[in-house]
Amino acid sequence: MIEPNITPELIADHGITPEEFERIKGILGREPNFTELGIFSVMWSEHCSYKNSKPVLRTFPTKGPQILVGAGEENAGVTDIGDGWAISFKIESHNHPSAVEPFQGAATGVGGILRDIFTMGARPILCMNSLRFGPIDGNDEAARRNKRLFAGVVGGIAHYGNCVGVPTVGGEVYFDESYEGNPLLNAMCLGLLRHEQIARGAAKGVGNPVFYVGPATGRDGLAGAAFASRELTEESHEDRPAVQVGDPFMEKLVLEAVLELLQTDAVVGIQDMGAAGLTCSTCETASRAGTGIEIDLAKVPQREPGMTPYEIMLSESQERMLVIVQKGREAEVQRILDKWDLPWAEIGFVTDTGLMRVKNHGQVVAEIPAAKLANDAPVYYRESKEPSYFAKTRAWKLSDLPSLTDPQKVLPELLASPTVASKNWVYRQYDHMVQTRTVVCPGSDAAVVRLKLAPPPAKDRYLAITTDCNGAYCYLDPYTGGAIAVAEAARNIVCSGGRPLAVTDNLNFGNPMKPEIFFQVREAARGITAGCNTFGTPVTGGNVSFYNESPAGAIDPTPVIGMVGLIDDIAHITTQWFKNHGDAIILAGNAVDAADPYLGLGGSEYAKRLHHIKAGLPPHLDLATEKKLQDAVLALIRDGKIKSAHDCSEGGLAVALAECCISRHPARNTPALIGARVDLSAFANGTRLDALLFGEAQSRIVLSVAQESADAVVAQLQAAGVPAAVIGAVGGDALEIRTGASACKWSVNELYDAWWYSITRKMES
């Protein structure tokens, strides 16, 4: 086999800078060969090394009494939920593969995050996903392409998750021009385990055999990590070998076998072969244990003849695991793998050399200090500079926005905006009930699952889970946008009856080498940190996805927050829809935020959708105010006073009220619609009508309570320092909103039709 010479061009092709190459030579004490160059290039890619984001990630709060395994220690963090039980959860992107091949890209994204969780020893009990696409309105070339991507991604998530048998219980989807050509797929998974079941990805015990488990290695997905660390260009569609095909059936077998293996103590360490495949799993396990590892590639099952060491080490074929077995216990491990009909091979052993030594038919083809490879990638403090577009977006004044005269048409239009509209076209394709844990199915503020720790009728435990991020807010002000993502997630948890516990994050940005992009990264992270500190939710892990740019430019900064909350009692579980005729409707929080120069309209769905304006500043957020609101509402829920709670987000108060009326959906084609009469006249004086109805002021929750407890609830909120007022009553078959002299009335049927079928109509036209 003839390997190419190491030329400056080859080095550059591998995304390695001349300084990095010097550093590699320093580590090896010589020039790397071709295989070693490939190994360094994937391990030192942004995707694996976080070289451009580490300094930022270090600023996140990651500690807390609930943290059992912290961020970055292992494949995923582990968080205590009491009584010896724990959860492990994480979010991960698969943006570039999804741009090139949406179905398989999304499917393998789900596969990868599932493996991160079950290698921790946890049984995956739910998935979520956060998606971004270009607009799907109309039928021009671009819209058709966006629809194809959207349909493909959703189909791929469904295909994989449904087959493995993990329910997809929620998520979010936004549509915006900035994601045109660079859609986002962030998949989150959460697993359940006992404290004593936490598994480690460490190659401990010199002499212990190293097993390869799963299907044979092919040329698919060659160097996907490097692919994820580049901008998408016109030529990206030629990056085809980087696309992998997933086999969820195999994943299910691997999952069951791994959990069964971990029940024995015959396994000392385990890691999935995700990004950078065999390379990453071998050097990281050795590095964590402070050992070395030696493997022979001739023993690695291969799908195609003639694969080179370079290809085998860099392949990202799916559904493979590396398992380090206690010496002498091989037979036990083999019995379990055979039971599940899984292919496996013993490919090497743990050494005390600190080296990752790779042989091929006995001949050494790569030899690199494992810890240096895994941990000594350069770390860059990138330059940051305030984006020049701020000058333009901030020059825009609220007075430039024409005033609203006829809200009657606007509300249905906003409800039909794909970002606001019901996502049933998406979630009905996902099995969201398998495992019979889902207590609140998709369609409310957060998903709620029971953990089935105790057989009925004994007391069980419940989790609330949500993902949130508004990219337009982050574009206009990354700090506030980042903080709002956390605040909104926490608000969704609280509205569902939970107390926020911990978060995972997925930082989706453009090219961090550009100072204006890095500014966004740094500021958004600062906002996330502020938010997490406020709500006491440490970051347990996450993922960074840079280079999300298409020829038209970078995506809006999109730091997605996945948050988990604990619900202490079944009675606290709360949903967003109105329940009974006659109940009082209470707005907790200010109708209009006087501290906001844009009155909640900057970056709002209203400004974007109806006026095609993405300018100004995002809604103002005061974290202390937000915390007060959430604490007060949670206390009321715990007191059993609240019948429904819904946070105000995209589309503002009018959309939130409409959703309370139309979002309860007991069965196919059978919504349970309920009207409401609302009077906002008290707030209408001297304020803009558009801000009152559609402004996206933060720190607001729409509650409904029994009429007789309305006064007490308002008093309790006010006593806690939260502005509150009764704004109407539930009932009838129309939503009526009075604002001073004028009033609007919409039949709930009309609103429901606009909201529920909007995405279906667009996808089927």
Partner: protein, 243 residues
């Protein structure tokens, strides 16, 4: 009563079945491995949902050749109970233990949602505890649930009262839009001629506890238990307040 729940590679509703039978209904229930040939003495075999063998080729096509399926056929031949749910229904059809086949949903999409399902007859071990035309609100979750059989088989099913479940609207009417998959005559579940083997696409185990939003599916398990206990048919008055 003794229940056996089959585990094929790719089954994923097996745990849910064990939970509902063992923890909710307090019955003796255990797993049967797909490679088992001796399944011992059981009152009822449950073929669970999931994606046996990845649903590759056709749903149920590969699973039906598993060693355990011979034992299932023997069990059924003795007149003992077998119930296949979702993928289990597909497997029983492929195995020839039930008539017909399940095609891709007419929408070409997987569908997970609650639907209304009417119990068409009480004359089966799987529906004997139901009230006349009882309607269940119950989840479905499948990509291939469109029931198909040729016209003479359908006529035969009707003649023998073998159609156990149909998709209906909230008022109990059989209408096209009530069906999540485009099944012929809105069929959601059938039994064999001997009435001891049942297949259904909806998931009664996902609607057997109030906390999951519906306990309407309990009637299926209660029917099986009544039948096994020899309580053939319960007077309507007793059931009126039930489930």
């Amino acid at each position: 009563m003794k229940f056996g729940i089959i585990q094929f590679p790719g089954s994923n509703c097996d745990l849910d079945k064990l939970w509902v039978l063992q923890d909710v209904f307090k019955q003796e229930a255990r797993y049967l491995w797909h490679k088992d040939t001796d399944i011992g003495d059981l009152d009822c075999i449950v073929v669970p949902g999931g994606f046996s063998y990845g649903d590759y080729l056709r749903t149920g096509a590969i699973a039906r050749f598993s060693p355990v399926m011979k034992a299932v056929a023997d069990h059924a031949a003795k007149g003992k109970l077998v119930i296949g749910i979702c993928n289990g229904f597909q497997i029983l059809c492929e195995a020839g233990l039930l008539p017909g086949a399940l095609l891709r949903n007419r929408s070409l999409q997987f569908r997970c949602e609650h639907v209304y399902v009417r119990i068409e007859t009480q004359k089966s071990p799987f529906t004997c505890a139901a009230r006349t035309h009882e309607i269940m609100r119950i989840p479905v979750a499948h990509g291939e649930g469109c029931y198909f059989a040729d016209p003479s088989t359908i006529a035969e099913l009707k003649k023998n009262d073998q159609i156990l479940f149909r998709y209906v609207d909230a008022s109990g009417k059989v209408v096209d839009t009530a069906s999540p998959n485009g099944s012929i005559e809105n069929i959601a579940g059938v039994c064999n001629k001997a009435r001891n083997v049942c297949g259904m696409m909806p998931h009664p185990e996902r609607a057997s506890e109030e906390v999951l939003g519906s306990a309407d599916g309990r009637v299926v398990w209660e029917s099986i238990l009544n039948h096994l206990r020899g309580v053939e048919s319960v007077p309507e008055s007793v059931l009126a307040g039930g489930h």
